[in-house]
Symmetry: D2
Subunit: 378 residues, 4 copies
């Protein structure tokens, strides 16, 4: 794999590299780690890459790698830049025949999103978006249970993503690179918290329930003086089957770490999953005792079992879930290279279509928040 | 005390009696336990009351008790009937000089609520409404912390009250008295879940934060076919200081017991309290480790200390919190009878004004849910 | 009921009174609240008792009450004094025909314990010992599950009772009445922590499992300089069926509140109960998902259902469990007075035999701790 | 790195490989994955190794690799075989100049352990033992807090390692390779559960507290009929500073997953850590509210910060902790190769001395369990 972005000081680049490395199936062979060539070079050296595979920019990387013989050149591109820098390398990679793994949200705006979707369809290349939370075994268990009707018809969904790290104007501090681009409309897009983490919540809710949001009513806020994008948002949801929901995401919920969680209630029971204790899935029933399903314990669905690596009680976390996206992508890519169908249990990673949906969500919650009309179609 | 309602099969009547009895400060001396005289009589006997203090209806009780000598006659009236039967006995009690403890919500509709408020102001009599969840020590600790500025300016409030017991059409079963009147517009009023438990959530949020809701946007639903009132509701909130919030209450959140909980986030930190583990108050800070404050441990505010009865680690629950409403009412009543001021720490129980506010909340969420206008003033 | 002890400043006296009052089945009619007559009198007045039913000592109370007509005189005696003052009033009450509820441990030493056991057998009077933790609904559920074989043959039992309140030499402070007598061999007996709370753990383990301890190996310690009795103890256990166990109790486990808890493992599954979250019973299975049984949810055993008062999710705590001992005692006493058999589900409170067993446990752990022999018979 | 053992069907070999791969600092370059050459070869192929670096046995691997030029040959050997096969490859690796990472327990018996200790001292080579639980950030935080005196003098330690997976005679099933060798005295040594997981508990207690066990009294059991080694053990501990403790480990605690946990109480406070929720460290104080320290939140000790990879709230688990052993080993090895001192914060992995201590623990608990003498020196 070749990486675009993820030089020193980046958070998510290192995550992608660890996720890719974990299973011994993917090797980092080249990269354009920064728009600053010296920085890119230093990053490449720290990653033990040969100097001739460390490039000064993504254009160079894609063109040069393309000229290397098959088997030697990178098999796909991983894009871990800020939002406004997803489109360029993704487009060029696709146009030059390289599959892509891209960080979320898909792009800077809807136009870019649609163009990438078009290119993926046109080229037929694999494209994964790292909505990494869908990689957890217990998330897959929840999805399988609902698909299998265990909870009956779904009535209510509550999905939350509270963080507190932007409770102060962190973006004003030097060296707070993460805060800086996420709160900058020129790099992040039209939304702040909603784009960064609200889309994870939206994706998780639709992934687990298999239901699509059909209408929404949003109330976004910017609590920190001088901040240019939303740092908190509360959204009422209608789903296509008649289910109702609430989605809220926040980066000013002081003291919260990364508490993505979801509750889904159907006619027969409800379930709850929290990212910060990801190996438990609490299931409550109308007429039976509450159960706590655990990664690796008892009769889980094949989808859940296939995404755990070690026996029950040895906690698997964020990196392992992230690695499941990479592993599944690699499994599918290898199958394709070998001209066979992959095991369907691994045919599960977020795609460019999820990315388009996420961008659409961003657009609609911003539009709704500015509107006096109660419900907007989604 | 004399009780109106609360005969056999009633849930909340027994709760009121246990709450009143716990501290040995209040004695049940008479009652009109049912509109059916035989039933009332049987209930009185089961409660070891002398037959001459068990009345066939509340009118009789109030008139006869009034004629008994002071010291012998009941000191106040406790009203534990369904919503549509609060107004009659409350009005008559006040008009005849008896203080009142009344179950929530205050009344059947706004007109009744205003009339009771007027009467309380006119007579100057004590009137308590059993929004019992404000009786928990850790709720009082949360309120004191926020009032004292420990969390800084409040930005976000999330209050939830999920239950699952009405996931099926329980009201159709004979003997499901509790389900039956709560889902009947003739007895419950214009709202179902929102009236029964949404008002508890609204009251708790305003009590803990000291902030008033200024605008709301509601989405109520009836999920169970044939049910006449809402069984689920999601509400976006604006508070007068600029804080934003979410309130949701549900009786179809399958598998949930009685999971009232609240999270409040300010500029400096956040706190979380759950009714089902009421002796813990989780406090999270921007720059310090999370704390778990516990009933009876360390330096709590006087308001919290005064409402616990036993040393830390001996769990106090729902009845003890409910008993705090009764105990405080009794302390204030006794002080008044003795012509002195009560210790201010006990001057804390929900009043008729909280009741009017609750009724107003019911009216507004129903109105908002039926409106295409996004925000309604509250 | 008439009370011996429990004047101002006492902890457990107030607990007994609240427990007795909760269900409206028991009335406090008289008391000898202190060995200091003025103190007793003041306590009686604060409890709204008529002065002529407040006695200067227990001898006077028992003799005078005996002379009152049936129906007016107290029906039983409740003894809430420190350990060394249980025997006198208990013996005299029994000898004069009064049933007894006595705080634990039963007595100051084995001789007293055997004598009380003999008297109970001779008189046939009811005698309850307030090992109150057996009053929790989920403890009764655990017992019923094990008795019914749900866990299979029991193999391992871990019971713990950590507290931290005696981490410093609290007994040296004036006004620390609770610490003072508990650490005084003249009032507490030969054991400190082991007598005060170790016996609760022993009783709980035998109650829940239905197994008797057959051998033990103890290691008691006194960590606080100058303290005269043990403040910590660790004990290995053998049970009569071959099960193995661990019991530890401590009053120097700094920061712990009152964390009595037990885990029991059988061939088919294990269960866990914690006093500080008493409405949950965690059950883990070999081949099935973990369950969390909850007071009031689903199909519990009749013993569990009969000892809860309010619907699921309204937490019931320490006082409610304590009240179950009093309620069951009252139910049995009333049945006996009316010449009928009580409902067997209520025929469940700790007796003088549990008390003798507890005293024996105290003796054996002290003996074992001083011995170089590994195992002592129990 | 070159690996000995860890072919298909092995649990711990894959764990070591993922742990080694995570940080991109260590590359698997060769292996002798099985004593069966075909199996070794197939494993090597599945791991994308060139056939000429996959060896039929460890002797061949060590000798051939030694002849490769520096920079090309493996830098160290990782041994992931069952207990009885640690000694051979470890000894030969050391004798041929290769540093070693070895799974625990160190060896089959004490003689082997002492010989390895002697060789490590003689050669001066790095030797790490994968007591992986010491790799968790919050374990390092606990150790630093205690070393820094935050809890005061330590009084009591409770360390537990309950599992339930050997509740039935799993070793009789074909394909249960993990169960089979662990319960076989010829491969596991003189202890079963105590060797496999009891040593982890012993190591964790001594690591966190910095105290050494000085005496012990053990009670080992074999509950499953026909099993040849202990499957449960309860041990009383004395520590050199006067602290008392309890250690229990079990593989028949039905329903338990891998619940290693420890509580440590000092004069000023206590702390609790559970492996299954490894990112929280609960700290309780005598006079302050309980705190929950979290990986990545607030002011942790440098040792804790250096061993976390991602921001707070993104759970890191077992593999990340395991990877910390490998990463620290790699950091120290690289520093040594470059002739400089490593950052002391990384100079932290279990050594051959910890391994000798673990083997000694195994010997003593077995001896104690068979003895009628209460205390044995350790």
């Amino acid at each position: 794999m070749g990486m675009v972005g993820g030089g020193k000081g980046a958070f998510i680049g290192a995550v992608h590299r660890m996720a890719a490395a974990l299973d011994g199936e993917i090797e980092l062979v080249c990269g354009a780690f920064s728009s600053d060539p010296d920085r890119s070079s230093a990053s490449g050296q720290a990653l033990y890459l040969p100097p001739n595979r460390v490039y000064g920019n993504y254009e160079e990387m894609i063109l040069r790698e393309k000229q290397l013989p098959e088997g030697e050149r990178m098999d796909f591109v991983s894009i871990v830049t800020p939002n406004h820098l997803h489109f360029g390398p993704a487009k060029m990679a696709l146009e030059n025949g390289f599959p892509v793994i891209c960080d979320k949200p898909l792009s800077f705006d809807m136009d870019e999103a649609y163009e990438l979707q078009r290119l993926v369809r046109q080229t037929g290349l694999l494209f994964a978006l790292t909505h990494n939370y869908t990689g957890y075994p217990m998330v897959k268990q929840a999805r399988a249970m609902i698909r299998n009707g265990e909870l009956g018809k779904i009535r209510k969904i509550v999905v939350e993503y509270p963080q507190g790290w932007l409770s102060t104007k962190l973006e004003d501090d030097n060296g707070q690179k993460q805060a800086s681009w996420r709160t900058d409309p020129k790099r992040s897009g039209i939304a702040g918290a909603m784009g960064d983490i609200g889309t994870h919540a939206e994706n998780l809710a639709e992934y687990i329930t298999g239901l699509k949001i059909s209408e929404l009513c949003a109330d976004l806020s910017t609590f920190v003086d001088g901040r240019l994008l939303d740092d908190d948002g509360n959204v009422l949801l209608h789903f296509e089957n008649g289910a109702k929901g609430i989605l809220h995401a926040s980066q000013i919920s002081a003291g919260e770490e990364n508490d993505l969680n979801i509750r889904v209630y159907g006619e027969k029971g409800g379930l709850q999953w929290r990212q910060m204790e990801p190996n438990s899935l609490v299931v409550k029933w109308l007429d039976k005792p509450m159960q706590v399903l655990r990664t690796g314990v008892g009769e889980l669905y094949p989808e859940a079992r296939a995404h755990a690596r070690i026996p029950a009680g040895h906690p698997e976390g964020y990196l392992e879930a992230f690695a499941n996206i990479y592993r599944n992508f690699a499994v599918c890519l290898r199958a394709r290279l070998q001209g066979r169908e992959p095991d369907p249990v691994y045919l599960d990673f977020p795609t460019v279509d999820d990315g388009v949906r996420g961008m659409h969500f961003i657009q609609k919650v911003v539009e709704s928040s500015n509107s006096s009309q109660k419900w907007l179609d989604f």
